[in-house]
């Protein structure tokens, strides 16, 4: 059992990161997916996570969304622990109720969109605000219409997902996540399931988000060019650890570690 007293009950100080992974470990049985991960994301920062499959990059996002449980360490969001709660002055694993409250400041977009098929686009966006945040329907509708217009889906707001293309569905999914006004937005390979010609629709929306909003974002992607353009920082993961990280120009332009170089050249060759 880990000694939880080494972890603060709350992050304090002048520069509290929006997200902090502190000694985070995740394993499935004997397979260690994340190995003693330490990562900080500042408020408003856009961090892209890249790496080969099995490197643990998707797990990082999923753990932040609390879709996966943590095996060691603590994750903090906005200064407060996400995966743990306080009990008698010490951190213990959070219960379901605490988790539900804690993760409400985090939003996620999935590779396969996961829109609710029995609701229209606008109903998908309104669902969270009405059912979870308790907003009155009119206000939720207003907010949803605003967001749908931002992602360029106003004319399709009354369509069911089955009538929308992949790119359109993903844009609605982004609007749906934003409707919850999260502090942190997670993008899990949101363009990997799209046809090449519509990838631009989605990356365009994300660019807009980065330019116009001060949202903290974590993104897992294979779109290296896109990552280079919009990220504040890029992390290269390898076998559950951060192999190298830095500003996009330096990581992409002048990778220091050998594995980073190998990965980047393999990706370039595949283009």
């Amino acid at each position: 059992m880990e000694d939880m007293s080494q972890y603060p009950l709350e992050l304090t100080g002048p520069e509290v990161p929006m997200v902090r992974f502190m000694n985070v470990t995740k394993s499935y049985g004997t397979l260690t997916v994340l190995d003693d991960l330490n990562l900080d994301v500042s408020e408003g920062e856009m961090v892209t996570v890249i790496g080969p499959s099995g490197s643990g990059k998707t797990t990082v996002l999923r753990m932040l969304m609390t879709l996966e449980t943590i095996n060691g360490g603590v994750i903090y969001v906005d200064g407060k622990p996400l995966t743990h709660m306080e009990k008698n002055g010490v951190l213990v694993p959070a219960d379901a109720k605490y988790l539900r409250r804690a993760r409400s400041s985090i939003g996620m977009c999935f590779q396969h969109f996961n829109l609710f098929p029995h609701m229209t686009a606008i109903q998908n966006c309104m669902e969270g605000p009405v059912q979870v945040l308790g907003l009155p329907k009119a206000e939720a509708r207003e907010r949803s219409e605003e967001l749908l217009s931002m992602v360029g889906m106003t004319d399709k707001k009354d369509q069911h997902p089955s009538r929308l293309s992949g790119g359109q569905q993903q844009r609605v999914a982004i609007a749906r996540a934003l409707a919850m006004r999260p502090k942190v937005m997670l993008f899990d390979e949101v363009t990997s399931a799209l046809d090449p010609e519509v990838i631009g629709e989605v990356t365009g929306v994300i660019r807009k988000l980065v330019a116009e909003h001060n949202l903290t974002m974590l993104m897992v992607t294979h779109q290296m060019g896109f990552a280079r353009d919009i990220s504040d920082r890029v992390c290269f993961f390898y076998q559950g650890k951060i192999e190298e990280q830095g500003a996009p120009e330096s990581l992409f332009g002048n990778p220091q570690r050998e594995r980073t170089q190998q990965f980047l050249s393999a990706v370039k060759a595949a283009d």
Binding site: M65, T66, L67, R100, R101, R103, S104, I106, G107, M108, F110, H112, F113, N114, L115, F116, P117, H118, T120, E127, G128, Q131, V132, Q159, H160, P161, S162, R163, A173, R176, A177, M180
Partner: protein, 236 residues
């Protein structure tokens, strides 16, 4: 010429006597059909309630809840409906619970078919893609809301085709309540057979009525339900 005339007369005789039979016994058939329809609807409602409850319980991670549901379904699926019917009618009174035979009828049928239905519910819910659970989770929905607003609507559509078959089984099962003297269609047919000895007509007519009910009422209704749900889910 003669044989053809004879055949024609014979057909006429049978035809006429069958029509006579129907006009004579018609009212009793109608009474029986109404009782069968009543038993059918009441059993169906009970079966759906039991199926939903037990199906959801079987998906629980709480072992007591899951176990209770499993015991219910295994007992009612593992024994014969007739045995259950007799047990509730004859044995339950010994434990202090006496029900009028009308109630015993649809309660037994409802509990029995609800057990089968719970598997359909469980299967339907499990067939909803995992991504839907995760998306609802990602917007912080409570488990109850998630089940009610996101998962069940989609599960319902997947469940409908096998539920259609189950409804037919339910209709057929109601015929057994005649054996504890509930005056349904089957009971009336037996009575008519006993008084007229016209077995082919008595039982034959009953068979035809059940068939009509199944093919021209229940099945079309279930298909209509499927179409409505498909449209609601935007898949039409």
């Amino acid at each position: 010429m003669q044989p053809i005339l004879q055949l024609y007369e014979y057909w006429n005789d049978i035809h006429m006597s069958y029509l006579d039979f129907l006009s004579e016994q018609g009212p009793r058939f109608i009474d029986g059909t109404i009782m069968t329809a009543t038993q059918f609807f009441l059993s169906a409602i009970l079966a759906i309630m039991c199926a939903l409850t037990a199906g959801l319980m079987k998906l629980s991670s709480n072992r007591m809840i899951k176990g209770t549901a499993l015991v219910y379904t295994e007992i009612f699926r593992g024994t014969s409906l007739l045995v259950q019917l007799y047990w509730i009618f004859f044995v339950l009174p010994l434990f202090g619970l006496t029900l009028d035979k009308f109630y015993v009828g649809f309660v037994a049928v409802g509990l029995n078919l609800g057990a089968y239905g719970s598997e359909l519910v469980r299967g339907g819910i499990q067939s909803v893609p995992k991504g839907q659970w995760e998306a609802a989770y990602a917007i912080s929905m409570s488990p109850a809301k998630r089940m009610y607003r996101i998962i069940l609507p989609q599960a319902l559509l997947n469940m409908l085709p096998p539920w259609g078959n189950l409804m037919i089984e339910l209709l057929k099962a109601t015929a057994l309540v005649s054996l504890i003297s509930v005056t349904d269609l089957m009971f009336e047919a037996k009575q008519i057979n006993g008084s007229t000895f016209l077995s082919a007509q008595a039982f034959g007519t009953a068979l035809i009525i059940y068939y009509i009910f199944a093919r021209l009422v229940v099945t079309p209704f279930m298909r209509w339900l499927e179409r409505v749900m498909a449209r609601k889910i935007g898949r039409a």
